[in-house]
Amino acid sequence: MSGGLMLYNVLCLAVPFSVALLLAALGENFNQRAGVFNLGCDGIMCMGAFLGFMVPFTLKGGPWAAYGNLLGIGAALAVGAAMGVVFALVTVTFRASQGIAGIGLQMLGWGLAGTLFRHFVGGVTGVEGMAAIAIPGLSRIPFLGGVLFNHNALTYTALLLVPACWFLLYKTPWGLKVRAVGTHPRAADTMGIHVDRIRYQALMLGGAMAGLAGAYLSLCQAKMFSDDLVAGRGFIAVALVYFGRWSPLGILGGALLFSIAQSFQLSMQVWGIKFPYEFAVMLPYVLVIVVLAVARKARQLGPTDLGKPYNREMRF
């Protein structure tokens, strides 16, 4: 098989594989920029995946079937935002430790999704998912056409969200407030900004995007739901935010890096390259550790107050 064709195949797979990571990480970026890291991202993705599958599945064959996908996505967004609010309640209002709280939320989301799935659905079933939409004209471009312009609507949305998030963070008043709140919350407070409120908003947005990421996994990528569907992608997304230096473009790069690794792993099996299955599955997780180890802290550019709760009444 020619090298060019191999590369083409890998890249074609890589873009859709990156969507879940990209969406979750872009959302987590808002959380972290506001000063909170939400390790429960993985649990939110589980719930989003469940709803993204469950809603179209239940509506199948009924009068609302045509809207199934859309409603599923909507449900995932809503639940994701709600879980973000729960996390905000615990870490912002109650000022609890963010790391442990995140693990708690993750367990809750993971367990709840599995419980509800087993109760309401039970077996292994699939959904139709979303069809790929080839962009007329652009999808004819040799090489790039296949890689970039032949995907489903959610993928295109995810890619467009990269510049959108960049704009939101750096060019709007809300983005300015978020960045201030994550770096020097007391300064923001003295300027009349509601630190807690901004953090709640960021966590809601981050949660919604994690929910959307989960819905993508079940609806578009796997077209089904299972306990191991999310498989730690939420944690990888959190790591990606550090790796991408809290910038949407860096996060895109990181997400592509991981998805290329994953599609490489899949392609290797297709091409019959002998490599123990389990070691191939391991690769993304090893890559995360490598990436975290190598990423030097560029803290000056990022939220320097990450992880610390803000208490206005505290003497300073």
Binding site: G104, L105, M107, G114, L116, R118, H119, P276, E278, V281
Partner: protein
């Protein structure tokens, strides 16, 4: 502790427990299970007979060991979420050790097997410790990743190099290792039950951990590193070194838990042997206030919960994942409660609110009377 503080702590713990129970009840309701029935089954079912009690204790042994290790790590300032993977590595190592020397006498083989398990878990944990100490890698992320990696290594070993040859012959292909030599089994404590000598080992370990943390210089260093890393550095304590030591110990306890499960309960390596003990251990440790004196009863309590959850799965069709939901809710509750308990401002506000509330109600009472 003055009276106010006790009243405040009691109120917080009560409020938090009720909220947790309520949230879980909501979920149970949503899946059509009766919350009251479920709670009743969970809390009373396991303890209804002697066998049930011993089963609870069997479950509590690995919970206790893992919880002790996590308490050591949390108190030293490093959050070990990787117990699940460390258990699995412990199982692999101890099974390999036992199968490698099947004819060795028990006095040698059993300790060697347990040590192998502890060592493997320690090394697995040590990786995360080293990554944090040297490269400032967030230990929650690294231990979680190591969990996923360990799971793959475990599956690989069970389906490959460590697969029982008889499985291949009979073609049943159940991923499990050969049965371990009898010489390595932990002694049965009560005939007819599964309770084994590992219980004694775990209780001794609890005492040792208490002594380690509060009575030795090593424990002093580790607690200082966890409670005031900067000041500890200024005082000459090499904090980074003790982060690694803490992870080695935490991983070692988890690996030992794996070895104990293999030698005491299952007598071979099987799929799902760690069955969530790694995560449950975190909740056990937090619930036990990170102190051996609290972790022992906490481990027994969670043993009850786990067996109870099994029972409800069979009787009330409550899926096993419910345990995760319970654990997640408990963690969120504990962590919220902790922040209230530690916050002097919240305590003040509580009493002010209480004063206003009682003043308003006495006024209302007076108004109603007149």
């Amino acid at each position: 502790m003055n009276k106010n503080k006790v009243l405040y702590s009691g109120a917080i713990i009560l409020a938090v427990t009720l909220t947790a129970a309520l949230l879980v009840a909501l979920v149970l309701f949503a899946i059509g299970a009766s919350p009251l029935e479920t709670y009743k089954t969970i809390l009373t079912g396991p303890l209804s007979d002697l066998f049930g009690v011993t089963e609870v204790l069997v479950r509590s042994v690995p919970l206790l060991l893992v919880g002790l290790g996590i308490a050591i790590s949390f108190r030293s300032g490093i959050l070990n979420i990787g117990a699940e993977g460390q258990i699995q590595m412990g199982v692999i190592a101890s099974t390999a050790m036992a199968l490698a020397m099947p004819h060795a006498p028990k006095a040698i083989l059993l300790p060697a097997t347990l040590m192998a398990g502890a060592l493997a878990g320690a090394l697995w944990g040590g990786i995360a410790g080293w990554l944090k100490a040297r490269l400032q890698v967030n230990e929650i992320l690294s231990t979680v990743m190591l969990n996923y990696i360990a799971a793959q290594v475990y599956t690989f070993m069970l389906r490959g190099p460590m697969l029982d040859p008889t499985e291949l012959e009979t073609g049943s292909g159940t991923p499990q290792s050969m049965r371990l030599p009898e010489s390595v089994f932990l002694d049965q404590l009560i005939p007819g039950t599964r309770i084994h000598a590992g219980l004694i080992l775990a209780l001794v370990a609890a005492v040792l951990v208490w002594m380690l943390l509060w009575k030795t210089t090593l424990g002093y260093r580790m607690r200082a590193a966890g409670a005031g890393a900067k000041a500890a550095r200024y005082a000459g304590v090499p904090v980074e070194r003790y982060l690694i030591v803490a992870m080695l110990l935490a991983g070692g306890f988890a690996g030992l838990a794996g070895a104990v499960e293999v030698t005491g309960v299952h007598h071979r390596a099987i799929e799902g042997i760690s069955s969530g003990y790694g995560f449950a251990g975190i909740v056990v440790a937090l619930f036990g206030a990170l102190h051996p004196g609290g972790i022992v009863p906490s481990a027994v309590f969670f043993g009850v919960l786990l067996i109870g959850a099994d029972m409800t799965q069979r009787s009330a069709a409550v899926p096993a994942n419910m345990v995760l939901v319970l654990q997640g809710v408990i963690i969120l509750s504990i962590v919220s409660a902790q922040s209230f308990l530690r916050n002097p401002y919240a305590q003040e506000r509580f009493f002010r609110w209480l004063a206003r509330f009682s003043a308003a109600s006495t006024k209302a009472g007076k108004g109603a009377k007149s």
